[in-house]
Assembly symmetry: C2
Homo-oligomer: 134 residues x 2
Amino acid sequence: MSDTHIDVCEGGHSPEERRAFAEILSRIGDKWTVLVVGVLAHGPMRYSQIFKLVGGVSQRMLTLTLKSLERDGIIRRTVYPTNPPRVDYELTERGKTLIVPLHLLWTWAQTNRAAIEGTRRDFDHQRSKDGAAA
Amino acid sequence: MSDTHIDVCEGGHSPEERRAFAEILSRIGDKWTVLVVGVLAHGPMRYSQIFKLVGGVSQRMLTLTLKSLERDGIIRRTVYPTNPPRVDYELTERGKTLIVPLHLLWTWAQTNRAAIEGTRRDFDHQRSKDGAAA
DNA sequence: CAGCATCCCATGAGATACTG
DNA sequence: CAGTATCTCATGGGATGCTG
């Protein structure tokens, strides 16, 4: 009971900053984004390779995700004007700094996944009982 | 140049696990979710208080977000059957363990926000030049 | 006060087909 | 190979109004 006053964002949290934080987090917390950053953490990779490794992503979403990450300076896109063309993607220095925080979240998710799924089941079961009764 | 082989998720990453990770991350990386967890990190709080502090959220989204967090066991909902009713929300122990990873991300966002916005401008400017040119 | 239900529009996101 | 373009359907999410 002595520590509920920790803050996620102590440094100063004007509404503007909080929204900016949420916006950035939403972007990097996006499903495809984290998977792409995850596979690129292994090193530079070509479009088709990312496409296969991520698995289940559509070309459209992969392209959009890559472009958005490039726009934010998280990844770098390098074109080799050979024929057929070859395009490499790799994390920038900025992108690499994302690995540690993301890794922490991954650890959290690993640690809590089973428990969360259990809690969900309980919750849903409880609600269906509530609904059924009355 | 000696360390591009770090992995976001070393512990084992079957497709199934990677997807589960992305799913959890997407949920907790959601815009309203992080803001709600952020304000609840200050301590227990009533619905209306969260509503005001988060700012800009609709009742609908707040209710949905809170329910989803409760379902995942991140927050606890306590009803005091007074009149008018009073409902408190607070982070569970599990929820509190989220504060540290989230805080790290917040730090990352703070550190990189300005640079990212600059990069975005450059990128957009570059693209508009490309588009304008032949 | 704390929410649920409904309407309605904007965006997200898959599938498919075409191109440099 | 590495995309772009379009079509389409599902979901997200705001606004409003009602209820215990």
